[in-house]
């Protein structure tokens, strides 16, 4: 499997506080990696380095490499907007923009010049992929705020899919959701697996176990270990991993 996303000794500081202490990770094309770890372990910082959203935070420093398809994302002359088109992101809290359901999903494609019937098709396809189409097809003109939390989060996923990214970063997308909505989002991720390279962040070991695939355990800015879920949850190599998944801390 070729590496879609690769980081080499990635370090990151907010002012003087070091949030990432040298992360080296490889994610294959079409793979779904779950990053698990307690709050403050650097999971979100890591994701935001991959799509360069951290560029916007003043007073931060970064060292080490991020390679997307083998190309340095931070090379001189690299365009962060073009990068973010390829590396989509779903945030912890759903952020519907203050517009209709349709316009929310159409937001990305419109930016890139998609219009008319093609746009309507893209919106429908994205909403279907995010398993939301049947619930909203009769009220696409309603405000996105009229949707429930779980629906809003699937709307966020649809919005990302509409841009047709290659990589999708999911930053604790279920943290504000009830168990049933969480299940729906996990099913959606299940369906997207293979078609997209997905990096899914969660603080919840049960969720990491349910999602399967490879799991990376972050702790205090370090990558403690990275192994297939089956192995990590039965025979963790590191004491800290064992403590975390058995609920002894975190």
């Amino acid at each position: 499997m070729t590496a879609k996303v690769e980081t080499h000794d990635l370090k990151f500081w907010y002012g003087k506080v070091q949030a990432l202490k040298g992360i080296t990770l490889r994610v294959g094309t079409g793979e779904q990696l779950t990053i698990m770890g307690p709050t403050g372990s650097g999971k979100t910082t890591f994701l935001r380095c991959l799509n360069r959203l951290n560029d916007l935070v003043p007073g931060t420093t970064r060292e080490g490499q991020v390679l997307i398809d083998g190309q340095d994302a931070y090379r001189a002359g690299a365009d962060p907007d073009a990068l973010r088109r390829r590396v989509g992101m779903v945030f912890a809290l759903p952020i519907p923009l203050p517009m209709s359901i349709f316009d929310n999903v159409a937001y990305g494609p419109r930016l890139h010049g998609v219009r008319g019937r093609h746009l309507a098709e893209t919106v429908e396809r994205s909403l279907r992929s995010a398993a939301l189409w049947d619930e909203v097809k009769d009220r696409l003109g309603d405000s996105a705020f009229s949707l429930s939390g779980g629906q809003q989060q699937r709307l966020s996923i649809a919005r990302v899919l509409a841009v047709e990214p290659e990589i999708i970063l999911m930053d604790e997308p279920c943290s504000g959701l009830d168990p049933i909505s969480t299940l729906r989002v996990e099913e959606t991720v299940e369906q997207l697996r293979g078609r997209y390279t997905i990096i899914f962040v969660t603080h919840n070991p049960q969720q990491a176990a349910r999602l399967g695939g490879r799991v990376a355990f972050f702790y205090l800015g370090e990558l403690v270990e990275c192994a297939p879920a089956a192995q990590m949850f039965t025979r963790p190599r590191d004491r800290r991993t064992e403590d975390y998944i058995s609920g002894r801390f975190g």
Binding site: N51, L53, L56, P58, D81, A82, R84, R85, R86, G88, M89, F91, L93, I95, L97, P98, M99, Y107, G108, R110, L111, H112, S156, R159, V160, V163
Partner: protein
Amino acid sequence: MKGWEWLIRRVLVVMAFSSLSLLALIALFIFAGGVPILAEVGVEQFLLGTRWAPTRGHYGILPMIAGSLWVTGGALVLGVPIALACAIYLSEIASEPVGRLIKPALELLAGIPSVVYGFLGLVILVPLIRVLLGGPGFSVLAASCVLAVMILPTVTSVSYDALRAVPATYREGSLALGATRWQTIRMSVLPAARSGILAGIILGMGRAIGETMAVIMVAGNATLIPVSPLDPVRTLTSNIALELGYAAGKHREALFATGVVLFLIIMGLNLVAEAVAGRGRSR
């Protein structure tokens, strides 16, 4: 001790209501002064009459209404784009130190007495317009330019606050979809801040309509309906300020009636601003 508490409460209530009763008294006073002549001349004659010669019995204030509209409209056309650009720059693009420099400068702009603006307009703008564009120089254009600068701080700071109030998540959500900085501002931040910006523009409009001194100094004050931006013009406020000193009898009443019209226009604008801003909050 109980009696003391009671007293303080009463005093505070009285003071709080005194501002309200002042407003009521002002309204009463203006209306009492202006309504008799409105009844005598007829509201329609008063508002739509084109001839203002109060000493000879002509009480038409249409030229002044048109003047106020021209001058205010011109101020908005010239001032709002600059104010918006300034607000967007301050809230979305400027770094912290630059913002700390520009924001107080703007507030200083708001603190300059209007007679100073008028004076600068008189010695710089009016001759400039006369030489470059022709006409007397005292004109709609000169007044609009001066007012545009004067409403800049109001519109900018209200719009700035509206833009700042847009959650950072909207920006990140948009950028994460590959939008550029400008696309994010245009498609995500501005629509979200729309009602606040609109309220700022309406407040600026109220300021422009109400401004008197600076306008008198540069507008020329002819009681004619202007047909070109280079024509001299008299606004509703100028009309009152220019003539109240020597007016008596019906002439004086007609000036009060001008005040009634002005009062209603500005009340209306404030109500619209409240409604627009309120709609934004409730969403």
